[in-house]
Symmetry: C2
Subunit: 349 residues, 2 copies
DNA sequence: GTGAATATCCGAACCGGTTCGGACGTCAAG
DNA sequence: CTTGACGTCCGAACCGGTTCGGATATTCAC
C-alpha cells in the first residue's frame, strides 16, 4: 500500500548479482551478455516490476519515447470535427506497442506554433512531431528542418520540403466526385471549400476548377458568370449553413453541392430542410471526409470517406522510422472512396 | 542553420560568471541571490534562448511538467463526440501558461487502463492524471491512491474515494429537464441513457426515476407497465437510432425523449424524419451535452449545455494544485443549463 | 604450454539539471 | 575587538539510466 521507493536499475542489478552496466546491457538486449546472466537480470526485473525511468533514459542522450502532435485550429471547430480524434486514435494504436507516448498541444496561430515547436525542441520533450493542416509556404517546415527535429506531415505531399509526408491524393477524389455527379446529370455544381490558406484546399479547388472546365460544366451566376462556384468557409457549421443559403437563393442555384468537411455538409443539409428544398430531389449533397455523423442525419449523406485511423497509424509508423534515423520517403495512404448514400440523386430535369 | 549543441545551464552560468548552483537558483526565482547577479543570469539565459531540459529536471526528483489524460472509449465513439476535444482544449488552455504538457493515451478496457497508469507511474512520465468516465467501484481510484499518484476525476463526486473531483451536478439537470417537459404537458417521457456501468449514468437514471415518480408520470408499455422507460445505449449513433425506433413504434409511444449525449440525439432526430414523426409535433427531443452539432440539425435540438472547455480548465487547475501538494477538495463546475431550441414543444393533446 | 583472440563483466564518466552543507565577507550588537 | 547573524555564492553529490575503455576469465590455434 505504501507508495514505496520506485525500484531502480541498481536494485535489479544487485538482485541479479551483476553491475549496473551489465544489467543495462541485458535489459536492452545488447550483445556481450551471457545467456544465463541475461535470464537472471530479466527475471529480477520482471519480478520487481521494474520499468526504466523515462527521464533518466531521455537524459542519457538517447530517446524521449514521446512524439508531439501540434494542432492549430480553434477549439470550436476542433471539437466538432471527428477527424482529429480518429487520427489520434490511429496514431496511438501504432504507438502503444512501442511504449511511445503522445504529447498533445492545441494552439492558435502561427506564432504559437513556432513557440511550441521551439519549446519542445529546446526542452527535448519530443523525439519528433506530427504536422497537420499544412499551409502554403508553411513556416513550420523551415523550422523543423533548421532544428533538425524529425517530423512527418499529415497531408501533402506538395510543399513539404525535405520533410516526409503521409499523404493522400486530393485530386482523384475531386474527379471521382465530379464525374459521379456529372453522370447523374448535374451541370451546375458548387463547392463549399475550406480555408483558402490551407495547402490541401488549394489543391482541391484547383482540381475542381480544372475538371469542371474539362467536363464543360455551367458556371454559376454571380461567379462572374463563368466557371464553377467555389465558396470558402472555415469548416464550422455556421459558415457551412451560410454558404448553403447563399447558394440556394441564387436564381440559377446549383443542383449539387460538395462540402469540404462533414460538419459543413450536415449544416448544409439542415438548411435544405429549413428551406424545404428536397434532397436529393432539387439538390444533391456530398461531404468530404466521412464520419458516423454523415450516416446519422436524414437523408444520410453521400461522402468521400477514408480510414482516418489507418491514416494516423501510417503517419505514426513513418515518424517512428524517421526518429530511428531511417531515410523514409513520402508514403501515400489508401485513396478516398466515394460512399454513396441518400443525399445524391439524378439532377432535376 | 546547424542543429547546434543545445545550450545547457553550464553555458549560461559561465556566461554570467557564476556557478551552476547560483544560476539554477536565479533561474528558479529562489531567494539568496543578489539582484544584480540574478539579472545577469536571467539576461544570459534570455539572450541564449535557454530552456531547461525537461528530462534533467524530471530526473532530479522534482517535476515532469506533464499531466496524463487517460481516455477509455472505443475510437468510434471518441471521434463522434465533441465532448473530449473540447475538454482537451480547455485543459490545454489552463496548462499552456505553465509550460505543462499533456500526455494523451487512448485505451480500451480496464486492464489497459491499469497498465497505462502503472507504466506512467513506474516510468515517472507524468506528475498526475485526469480520470474520465468513472465507473461504479472504479478500480482506477484504488490504483492511483495506492501509487500515490495525484489525480483528478472529471465527473463524480460520488465514488471518488479520496481522489479530488471536478464534478458537475447530474441531478438538477434531470429535474430541470423533466420539469420543463412536464410543464409543456408531457406525461410519457423516455430516457435513452448511456452505458449503465458508468457512475454518472447511474446517478442520472436514479434521479430520472425518482423525479418521474414524484411528478406522477405515466409508465410506458413494455416497461413492466410501470415506471418510466429507460433504455441503455453506448453513445453511438447506431444505438441511439435503434432505441428511438424501438420507442416510437410502441402503442403508447413517448411524447418526449431525452438522450444522454448529442450524437444519439442527432441520430434519433434522423429517425423521426425517416419515420415521418413530426418534431416537436408528435415527439419532443432533448440532448444531454450541447455541442455545435445540436444547433446545426433541423430542427435544432433543445439541449442541456455547459461550457465543457471551462470544465476542463477547472479540472486542470485542480490537478495542478494537487501536484503542488495542496490539499484541494472537490469543486463543482458551473451547472448545466437547458438551452431551448426547436425540438421541444407542447405535448400532443 | 604459451600467446592471442574472444566472451563476459565491471568501473567510471556522463547526460543537465537540483539541492544541501559549508565557505566567505559584511555588518551590527555586546 | 570579538562574536554571531546574515546574505551570497560555490563545490559536490545526487537523480537513474547509457556507454566506453579496460580487466578478467575462457577458449583456441600453434
Amino acid at each position: 500500500m505504501s507508495p514505496a521507493r520506485r525500484t531502480t536499475i541498481d536494485d535489479i542489478a544487485r538482485a541479479a548479482g551483476v553491475s549496473k552496466a551489465t544489467a543495462s546491457a541485458a535489459l536492452n538486449g545488447r550483445s556481450g551478455v551471457a545467456a544465463a546472466t541475461r535470464a537472471r537480470v530479466l527475471n529480477a526485473a520482471e519480478s520487481a516490476g521494474w520499468q526504466p525511468s523515462s527521464a533518466a533514459r531521455a537524459l542519457s542522450g538517447t530517446r524521449t519515447d514521446t512524439l508531439g502532435l501540434l494542432l492549430d485550429r480553434p477549439a470550436r471547430t476542433l471539437g466538432a470535427e471527428p477527424f482529429y480524434m480518429q487520427l489520434i486514435s490511429g496514431i496511438e494504436a501504432a504507438l502503444a506497442d512501442r511504449g511511445t507516448g503522445l504529447l498533445l498541444q492545441v494552439v492558435e496561430g502561427e506564432d504559437a506554433e513556432q513557440r511550441t515547436l521551439r519549446a519542445w525542441w529546446a526542452a527535448r520533450r519530443v523525439d519528433g512531431v506530427f504536422l497537420c493542416d499544412l499551409r502554403e509556404d508553411d513556416s513550420r517546415i523551415a523550422l523543423v528542418e533548421s532544428l533538425d527535429l524529425p517530423a512527418v506531415v499529415v497531408g501533402g505531399p506538395e510543399g513539404t520540403g525535405g520533410v516526409t509526408a503521409a499523404w493522400s491524393d486530393n485530386t482523384a477524389p475531386v474527379r471521382e466526385c465530379l464525374d459521379y455527379l456529372y453522370s447523374l446529370g448535374h451541370r451546375r455544381i458548387a463547392y463549399v471549400a475550406g480555408l483558402p490558406e490551407l495547402a490541401h484546399t488549394a489543391t482541391r479547388v484547383a482540381e475542381f476548377r480544372r475538371r469542371s472546365a474539362e467536363l464543360g460544366l455551367d458556371g454559376l451566376e454571380g461567379d462572374a458568370a463563368e466557371g464553377p462556384a467555389v465558396l470558402h468557409a472555415d469548416y464550422s457549421g455556421e459558415e457551412g449553413a451560410r454558404a448553403t443559403r447563399a447558394l440556394l437563393i441564387r436564381r440559377a442555384a446549383p443542383t449539387a453541392i460538395v462540402y469540404d468537411n462533414d460538419v459543413m455538409a450536415v449544416a448544409g443539409a439542415a438548411v435544405t430542410q429549413e428551406m424545404r428544398v428536397p434532397v436529393p430531389g432539387r439538390v444533391s449533397l456530398v461531404a468530404w471526409d466521412d464520419s458516423t455523423l454523415c450516416g446519422l442525419v436524414h437523408p444520410p449523406l453521400t461522402a468521400l470517406g477514408r480510414d482516418v485511423a489507418a491514416y494516423g497509424g501510417l503517419a505514426a509508423r513513418l515518424l517512428l522510422d524517421r526518429v530511428d534515423g531511417a531515410d523514409v520517403g513520402d508514403v501515400e495512404a489508401a485513396p478516398m472512396r466515394l460512399i454513396v448514400r441518400g443525399s445524391t440523386g439524378p439532377a432535376p430535369e
